[in-house]
């Protein structure tokens, strides 16, 4: 185990969570390579090999579009997330492969808080000009039941 790699992946995960939780969504696509895969699916869909996601992007530009749509187009009640992200389990090969458990608490504008999602990030991470970025992040939610809507990325 390379302690420095573990540290760098943990920092990447922290920055990812902060971008979303602190509403710096515009910076979120920059954590991905230009050609990347971002998908939100569920454990049941993942196990059955179903390819479709709740969110599916195969380019950084599609992530930029997601943020633009959330800012400009989509209607949803004001809400925020709090990510609690666990320790990544790494496998280092040509890419770095990481599996990291997460929990997301959602707080609505009226103060209602819910355990909105729990699951695991299945990542491939790659060096990109001295920075680690996601080549692929598959968000596998433990539950296939989504309350009301999933607007902000997980």
């Amino acid at each position: 185990m390379n302690a420095e790699t573990l540290y760098r992946v943990a920092v990447l995960n922290t920055e990812y969570a902060n971008c979303i939780d602190a509403d710096r969504l515009e910076e979120w696509p920059g954590l991905f390579l230009e050609h990347c895969v971002y998908k939100i699916t569920t454990a049941d869909n993942h196990r059955r090999g179903y390819a479709a996601g709740l969110v599916y992007a195969d380019s950084r530009a599609m992530l930029t579009d997601r943020v633009a749509a959330l800012r400009e187009a989509n209607i949803y009640e004001r809400q925020s997330y709090r990510h609690i992200v666990g320790m990544p389990a790494l496998r280092i090969g040509e890419d770095i492969t990481a599996e990291t458990p997460f929990v997301v608490v959602r707080t609505m504008r009226d103060g209602r808080m819910d355990l909105f999602a729990a699951g695991i990030y299945l990542d491939r991470v790659r060096e990109d000009g001295g920075t680690l970025r996601f080549a692929e992040r598959i968000v596998v939610c433990d539950s296939s039941r989504i309350d009301t809507l999933l607007a902000i990325p997980l």
Partner: protein, 408 residues
């Protein structure tokens, strides 16, 4: 006035009282008169049950149901409730079995839902056990009649349900066949969206052609659907079913949305590969939303295909079960395009996410308005097919059918 509900409904189809979304008595009556009435409820897909012994659990309204493929290959459906003490017979979403055994006291059922054996029915050492004259054939979960259409399985509890395709009518039948043809279906995703509202608010939303391009900015901005595009809404004679269509958009500048929130000319996608349409239906329909009373939706938004099942969970809670579909003969390019276009639909869909929330806005808005009325008057007072989507004809059609079934 209905003796059970104890409320009156104003004359005509243009006013709907809000108590219909908030009364617990109404929900109980809907189970009897609508879901268990002479209608066909969507249960699952045929491909969910390819082999003998395969089963899938589903719902008819609030009633839990098992669908299974019996020894002779026939599809059978029965209430998921043990005849003994009422426990669920089947606990998982799907699987494959030789027979079903209730976990509570091991009462055993065959694949058709017939009670076949009772544990310790003769007691132990000559003591206890069931009465000698207990007739297993008189005890069992309620059974449904089952029919299949275009790879989908529908079921009814009523002996009075019309023949399925006659019930849909030739136009709706044609609109379903237009999407499915004879192609082999393939499931590419399954998700459940928990809606914080009465089931009828979602079904109305599906049939509400007026809201689509007003609530959903994404639609209007990219001209996926605008009321000024061609198309219309088809409503079946009884009002039970509908199909709305949007044709390819007119070229050139369209000023009909000027000043509306959903008109944002400056908004463009950085990766427009999400848009566009592979010509798989060989017509000029870009978008077709079709509903079958009381809780089924077939969606074609460009190449994003899904069936949606509406399951009431309480007066103000509804599960929307999404099954995303492709076909066995999809080219890799078409399949990749479907995966991208699924971003438009589902719980996180650029379009559909808002439909998940707006029913809750109504449910909360009417908290103290049981005796007030909603206004459903766009496009007149009738429930006939119209060659425009700037109408609420299809919503009125739903209420026409609903009131006939409910006797309200």
């Amino acid at each position: 006035m209905d003796a059970v509900v104890g409320r009156t409904w104003p004359a005509g189809l243009t006013r709907v009282p809000y108590w219909v979304y908030t009364d617990a008595d109404v929900l109980a009556l809907e189970q009897k008169r609508v879901f268990e009435g002479p209608v066909w409820n969507y249960l699952c897909l045929e491909i969910d049950l390819p082999d003998i012994g395969d089963y899938r659990t589903t719902f008819v309204g609030t009633m839990p149901v098992v669908v299974a493929r019996a020894e002779d290959g026939a599809l059978c459906a029965f209430e998921n409730r043990c005849a003994h003490r009422g426990a669920l017979i089947c606990l998982d979403d799907s699987g494959s079995v030789k027979d079903f055994q209730c976990v509570y006291h091991s009462w055993r059922y065959d694949l058709r839902g017939n009670l076949r054996s009772i544990a310790f029915s003769r007691g132990v050492n000559g003591k206890g056990g069931m009465p000698a004259d207990f007739d297993m054939s008189c005890h069992g979960p309620r059974k449904l009649s089952v029919t299949t259409f275009c790879g989908m399985v529908f079921g009814t509890l009523s002996p009075d349900a019309p023949e399925f395709e006659t019930w849909l009518g030739p136009e709706i039948v044609g609109r379903v066949r237009r999407v499915f043809g004879n192609r082999r279906l393939e499931v590419i995703g399954r998700f459940t969206q928990a809606l914080p509202n009465n089931w009828k608010l979602y079904f109305e939303n599906v049939r509400d052609t007026y809201h689509a391009s007003l609530l959903h900015l994404f639609f209007a901005t990219f001209r996926i659907t605008r009321l000024s595009s061609g198309g219309g809404v088809l409503v079946s004679e009884t009002g039970e079913h509908h199909a709305s269509t949007t044709l390819a958009p007119p070229q050139g500048k369209d000023s009909s949305y000027q000043g509306l929130r959903s008109d944002k000319e400056g908004f463009r996608l950085a990766d427009p590969s999400l848009l566009g349409m592979h010509d798989e239906f060989h017509d000029d329909i870009q978008l077709q939303i079709l509903s079958i009373f009381p809780g089924f939706v077939l969606q074609q938004v460009h190449n994003a295909l899904a069936v949606r099942q509406i399951v009431p969970r309480g007066v103000d809670a509804t599960d929307l079960n999404w099954t995303y579909l492709g076909f066995g003969d999809d080219t890799p390019e078409l399949r990749a395009h479907r995966l991208k276009q699924n971003n438009l639909v589902g719980p996180a869909g650029y379009v559909s996410m808002e439909d998940g929330a707006v029913g809750g806005f109504v449910q909360r808005g009417i908290a103290a308005a049981a005796d007030e009325l909603s206004v459903i008057e766009m496009g007149g007072a009738g429930a006939e097919t119209q060659e425009t989507r700037a109408t609420e004809a299809s919503v009125r059609g739903f209420w026409k059918a609903y009131r006939a079934h409910m006797d309200l």
